[in-house]
Amino acid sequence: MEPAIRTEHLTKIYGQRLIAVNDMNLDVPKGYVFGLLGPNGAGKTTTLRLLLGLQRPTAGRVEVFGMLCGPNAVGVRSQIGFLPTNPKFPANQRPIEYLDLVGKLSRLPLQVRKPRISALLRSVGLLGATEQRIGTFSTGMCTRLGIAASLVADPPLLLWDEPTAGLDPSARRFTLDLIRELGKTKTVVVATHILSDIDQICDHIGVMHEGRMIFTGSMSDMKRRLRHDDFSLELEGNNDEIQRLFRELDGVDGLSIRFGRENELLVRVAEGRSRSGMLAEVLKLIDCSQVSLQAVNSGHNATENAYLQLLQEDEAHGFGR
């Protein structure tokens, strides 16, 4: 099957000085929610801009649905809905006027444009703000409007750059839910450095570091690479009791235990052992001890740890990179 996005040896060098994207080969299959993950300056936004034809590659090629990207690749951009980070809009326009402009830019006839704009404004929760000028909008409202603008032409591919940046928890929740919903019918690429977002919405990810794609694969592939602790236990009690519990747990076959932060035990379950069964065993021992259990965190930082591990490995490879 033809991928939604394909890059071959994609390279972008700014002014012979800065390598923003370095020999990137990437395939994003259709219908995936793909997370483009990386620290600030990793080249995520540049990659999106290359896909949109806003920038020209120094070397290599970019294709979207089999079409070559470039400055005048109108056909490519008609397949893409783009949401930039902190989108900027004409301050003195109202949401309907702006979305109508976007609809016209997408060559949508009036009969299609108007009902879709109404539906989108309702979907993103801006129906009550249609009288307001965009200049008076909060960051969250601007993001919602940007989301609506990216969906006006109903494109099969969405490129959203830091969609949750600067949003309050409810707006963030709304955006993530929407991505999950859109992912059922469209290919969605979300560029972000917020790991918890990726964890919640993406089925596949690509990790970028210093312009290079250092990992691509499914979320489970990534987590599998991790030397992770299966769960951590936050305990309360005196040190002697906690030490005794530590010794007891360490004696259980299939478990390896180590201390984490203060009063925290990190528990790892051996390969092939039942995670739930081992957890039940652990809880039983805690119940029999003089220590009280405050919290059990399971796989809480798996993505973060895997991500950091990938970055560390990439740094450590030196010339091998």
Binding site: R49, Q55, N72, R77, I80, F82, P87, L105
Partner: protein
């Protein structure tokens, strides 16, 4: 039925261009710069017309009103309007808002350029058309003049063409240099010595100063009048009046009294100002305008946003 489909297809194809044009026209019209310019040009036209109401015949008086558009100070405003759409911080928002949509770069540039040309010409005509109408129809205490409709239209066309060229030049420099301020500074340093540069290549007749000197003569041209006849129609009175206009104009701007007239310069004596060919001027400004727009598009096409 078929033709209906054809129109609809053309309409769909033109939709982004028309949308950007309309959007830019609205934005420009609401901008302070355009509103101040409209107010300023109306006020200056009123001052120049009333100040010379009883002194100049129709042709020199109308010519005096063209000077601010051809030479100073409106060149600056027109250049700034041309520079802004593809330079500075505007470039980022246009990339995110418009060029990330299914719009080609040439569609965007052509639409923004058209919007600026339309605004500049509208402001010029909104002020100039009524002013010329009043001057030609009013019963003024000066000798009757032979200003023709053709002459008025051709002068409006030439001044409009020069302004279109200035917008395009601003557009080109804004695209090439990216920084609005830098583009404006370069334009100012390029445009003001233009008469001197053109005279080096014996192209003085294309300079804005020469054009503004030729306006009086052109206003008296009739449709069938040949270039030779036009030369014969020129008279010394126009030249003297024109010099006086310039002197008065700058004196008024500086708030001082008009300076006593000095004797004419060599350009006046040679009557070169009358060597005005509408065809040559149209080509002389039209071709560079087209070239500037083309180069701006080429430069913008290769540019990263």
């Amino acid at each position: 039925m078929d033709s209906g489909v054809k129109i609809s297809k053309t309409g769909t194809r033109m939709m982004p261009y028309l949308a950007i044009l309309r959007h830019d026209l609205g934005t420009l019209w609401k901008s302070r710069l355009v509103r101040l310019w409209l107010g300023g040009t109306a006020l200056l036209t009123l001052l120049l017309a009333t100040g010379n109401w009883g002194r100049f015949q129709d042709a020199p008086l109308i010519a005096s009103l063209q000077f601010p558009y051809l030479v100073f100070p409106w060149f600056f405003v027109v250049a700034v309007l041309g520079v802004s759409p593809v330079s500075g911080s505007h470039a980022d928002s246009l990339a995110d808002g418009i060029l990330s949509r299914p719009v080609s770069r040439w569609e965007y540039l052509l639409a923004t350029w058209s919007a600026r040309v339309v605004v500049v010409l509208s402001v010029y005509l909104v002020v100039m058309a009524p002013a010329i109408l009043v001057i030609t129809l009013a019963n003024r205490p000066v000798a009757a003049d032979s200003v023709s409709v053709y002459g008025i239209i051709s002068v409006l066309f030439v001044v409009g063409l020069v302004q279109t060229f200035l917008v395009s030049l601003g557009f080109l420099f804004g695209t090439l240099l990216r920084r609005s301020l830098l583009a404006i500074v370069v334009l100012v340093f390029l445009w003001y010595p233009i008469s001197f540069i053109l005279s080096i290549f014996s192209l003085e007749q294309f300079s804005p100063v020469s054009l503004s000197r030729a306006v009086s003569t052109q206003l008296r041209q009739s449709w069938r009048q040949s270039e030779e006849e036009a030369e014969a129609a020129a008279n010394m009175q126009d030249m003297e009046q024109f010099s006086q206009q310039m002197s008065d104009f700058f004196s008024r701007l500086s708030g001082g009294q008009p300076k006593p007239r000095t004797e004419k310069g060599d350009f006046f004596e040679t009557k070169e100002f009358a060597d005005f060919s509408l065809w040559r001027v149209s080509l002389g400004y039209g071709l560079p305008t087209a070239a500037a727009v083309f180069l701006a598009m080429l430069s913008f096409y290769w540019r990263d946003l």
